[in-house]
């Protein structure tokens, strides 16, 4: 290779856990992409991925809402503490409500004593990998919530998986932040955000939504983000 190159992947280990044979997930699966980055992040650490297990109980402590269960990957850090990684593919039914898009998992995890809590998206891979590594090296239990778009359930073209995940961050529907030892920090912040309607209109699962539901989501998103910004500002000062 040349001495000068833009090669971004050189900072990551090249080992692939999916090889040989690949996996059975649907084409363009956000969960598969996020899991690949999780494996890459933990490749250099001493994490024993063979002992990791899946927790799909709907009423667990870190369940993201009362209705749908998101699978949680539990990686043991020590005898008593775990690293929880939630792969949230959200609800697929057309009766989805604006309230269901607000994530309760991170707040629940922070309240129940996790030392490191973060939200991540596969559209920002280095951010995701950094958060997984910080969660692994944190002193106590850690929880990371990853938004994983699914082209089949959400109803969009398979090639737009990363684009939709990025749009959720840009529209502030799913803001990327971390809570390290009680200190809030917004890791990806856009000064000119997209409108929530932009994110909604590209997915088939929101096709039955009326204008008032979109405006409800917009106000809810703005409120949550203002609350988050307020908390982060006060924590720093």
């Amino acid at each position: 290779m040349d001495t000068y190159s833009l090669f971004a992947g050189q900072f990551l280990p090249f080992t692939e856990r999916y090889l040989p044979g690949g996996h059975n997930a649907v084409l363009g699966s956000g969960t598969a992409l996020a899991l690949r980055h999780v494996y890459k992040a933990l490749e250099d650490s001493k994490a024993d991925l063979a002992q990791a297990s899946w927790d799909e109980t709907p009423t667990g402590v870190f369940a993201q809402s009362d209705e749908t269960a998101a699978p949680v990957l539990v990686i043991p850090k020590s005898d008593t503490e775990n690293l929880y990684i939630c792969f949230d593919a959200e609800a697929s039914s057309k009766k989805i409500k604006p309230e269901q898009l607000a994530k309760k998992g991170p707040a629940k995890a922070a309240a129940s004593g996790c030392q490191y809590v973060a939200t991540a998206s596969p559209s920002h891979p280095f951010d995701l990998i950094e958060k997984i590594r910080r969660g692994w090296s944190a002193a106590g239990a850690a929880y990371i919530h990853i938004l994983c778009p699914c082209p089949v359930a959400w109803g969009f073209e398979t090639e737009n998986t990363v684009r939709i995940a990025r749009m959720a961050v840009e529209a502030r529907v799913f803001p990327l932040y971390e809570i390290a030892e009680g200190h809030y920090n917004i890791t990806v912040e856009d000064q000119s955000p997209r409108k929530a309607a932009d994110y909604i209109s590209r997915q088939g699962r929101f096709s039955t939504w009326k204008k008032n539901q979109i405006s409800v989501l917009q106000t809810q998103t703005d409120d949550k983000y203002a609350q988050l910004q307020n908390t982060a500002a006060h924590e720093i000062n």
Binding site: F7, G22, G28, E159, V162
Partner: protein, 95 residues
């Protein structure tokens, strides 16, 4: 056109089933080859975005620094084609 009732729909599906059984109608069209990503080496900047965003770990780095996809692992989702900043990847039928 008004929406059809469920009774009418079942009648139509029964008719289609009979036609397929008689061989007068094909259930599916002729299968097309799935589109696979092809890199244009003149445009490619070797930034590895395609490698980063591939959900199937199909894309790997070659010895010359450029990238290529494993045809068996690739599921032709098209994320690499969509995410390439330079437009170096096109989806084509590969034999």
């Amino acid at each position: 056109m008004a929406t059809k009732s469920s009774k009418q729909m079942t009648a139509v599906s029964k008719l289609l089933d009979r036609l397929i059984a008689d061989g007068k109608l094909q259930a599916q069209g002729p299968e097309k080859n799935p589109l696979k990503p092809v890199w244009d080496k003149l445009i490619c900047a070797r930034c590895a975005l395609c490698y980063l965003y591939c959900p199937d770990a199909a894309i790997s780095r070659q010895e010359d620094g450029y990238f290529d996809a494993d045809q068996e692992l690739c599921k032709s989702c098209g994320i690499c084609h969509r995410e390439c900043w330079f437009g170096a990847i096109s989806m084509q039928e590969v034999e």
